[in-house]
């Protein structure tokens, strides 16, 4: 299961990461987020040495929500070398996410 990270770890875990990072901005009350959870776990295993996946709880990480103008849960942002390279607002199908990942690996 992807690890949950806080704003203090964001710079090192996401922006400073060697591999592309898929950041899942989720909220506790969001059903599509719950539905995405097993899909992200599968991707984490299937692309284990290619990308990193982290989760950010939007209920607690207001600064990151503000910084990345998140207004929908889930929002998936793919970062590569510290830069945002793509974003999906709302729930996504596994294939859609794979397409974005493949652009970066």
């Amino acid at each position: 299961m992807p690890a949950r990270i806080s704003k203090d770890e964001f710079d090192s875990e996401v922006l400073g990461a060697e591999l592309p990072v898929l950041a899942d901005f989720y909220s506790d009350s969001c059903i599509p987020c719950k539905r995405m959870s097993p899909i992200l776990s599968q991707l984490e295993t299937e692309y284990a040495d290619k990308i990193k996946i982290v989760k950010i709880n939007t209920n607690f990480e207001k600064e990151l929500v503000e910084k990345y103008s998140i207004q929908a849960a889930p929002t998936l942002i793919l970062f590569n070398k510290g830069e945002e390279v793509s974003r999906i607002r709302g729930a996504a199908k596994k294939d859609e996410i794979i397409t974005l990942i493949k652009e970066q690996i």
Binding site: S27, S29, C30, I31, P32, C33, K34, R35, P38, I39, T58, N59, V65, S69, I70, Q71, A72, A73, P74, T75, R89, G90, K94
Partner: protein
């Protein structure tokens, strides 16, 4: 070749799975959403399903799913793109190219939220325009939001949002609500909810994100300042693949009575897709049972 292929994993489909299992039929459930339970999952609280007063919709859906799983239900992930008659029953084609054969089909694909169909809606989707108050409400903490609609969903959303936002407007095109009297009363008694009635939304405006809604009221064009717009203007039945296959009414619902029998032999409609007076979890669950009994009749013929 299955005896019954159940399309949809909402309350109607899961109930059909339970009855199909108990009837000893070979069956599977095809679902668009992996591990889904249909629209019920998106309801904050369900107070009218017998035996579970006050349960949240997600948990109720999970209970339904666990029940169907416990009785050995096979789930297949996929979106149905085509249904066609064969000599022995039906062929079900999925978007990934897989196809399945079944003697009968229980069509329980439910309904999806209707779009507002106004300028700005697509542009600001996920940037202030939302179809899920439970998902996105928290991003509007302390801000102003507008809910568009007048049914149970609109007023439940308004009540949910009123807990964390500064102000909730409910924009509704009529003077009366379709929502249940108890919800209307609760909303009326909530100090930060304000009704904007006989108001027809025209456009959602903004820059990087939503800043307001333009609407007309009594022939005058007005603008309401708001940071978020929550659309709750009802739902549309997911019956596109049935066109030319089974009789639909003018709004797209499958014409069928309580027996769930449609104009197409061996195809049964269950849940919110069917023409009915009351679209609730309890009537969807009842349809699942009726549809299996009707399918059994067809198989044993």
């Amino acid at each position: 070749m299955y005896d019954v292929m159940i399309l949809g994993s909402g309350p109607a489909g899961l109930s059909a799975a339970v009855y199909a299992s108990r009837a000893g039929l070979s069956f599977a459930v095809i679902e668009k959403e992996y591990m889904g339970t249909g629209q019920i999952a998106y309801t904050e609280q369900v107070d009218n399903y017998l035996g579970y007063c006050g349960i949240d919709g997600y948990s109720l859906g999970e209970k339904f799913r666990e029940h169907a799983e416990a009785l050995g239900t096979e789930f297949i992930e996929g979106e149905v793109t085509e249904l066609s008659r064969t000599d022995s029953g039906w062929k079900i084609l999925l978007s990934d190219g897989n196809s399945f054969g079944a003697r009968t089909v229980i069509y329980a694909l439910g309904a999806s939220p209707k779009k507002l169909a106004i300028p700005g809606e697509e542009e600001f989707a996920g940037r202030g325009v939302s179809y899920c108050a439970l998902c996105d409400g928290a991003f509007f903490e302390g801000r102003t939001v507008a809910v568009i609609g007048g049914g149970d969903t609109a007023l439940s959303d308004a009540l949910y949002l009123s807990k964390t936002t500064a102000k909730v407007y409910v924009i509704h095109r009529r003077s009366e609500f379709r929502a249940s009297a108890s919800l209307v009363k609760k909303a009326e008694g909530t100090s930060n909810i304000e009704f904007v009635l006989e108001a027809v939304p025209l456009e959602i405006i903004g820059e990087d994100s939503v800043t307001g809604v333009k609407y007309t009221q009594n022939g005058t064009e007005k603008t309401l300042d708001t940071n978020g717009v929550f659309a709750a203007v009802g739902s549309l039945p997911n019956t596109a693949v049935l066109s030319g296959i089974a009789g639909l009414d003018e709004r797209g619902y499958v014409i069928a009575d309580e027996s769930c029998v449609t104009s197409a032999e061996g195809l049964f409609a269950a849940g919110d897709v069917r023409t009915k007076a009351v679209r609730q979890v309890i009537t969807a669950a009842a349809d699942g049972a009726n549809a299996v009994v009707s399918a059994l009749g067809c198989i044993n013929k």
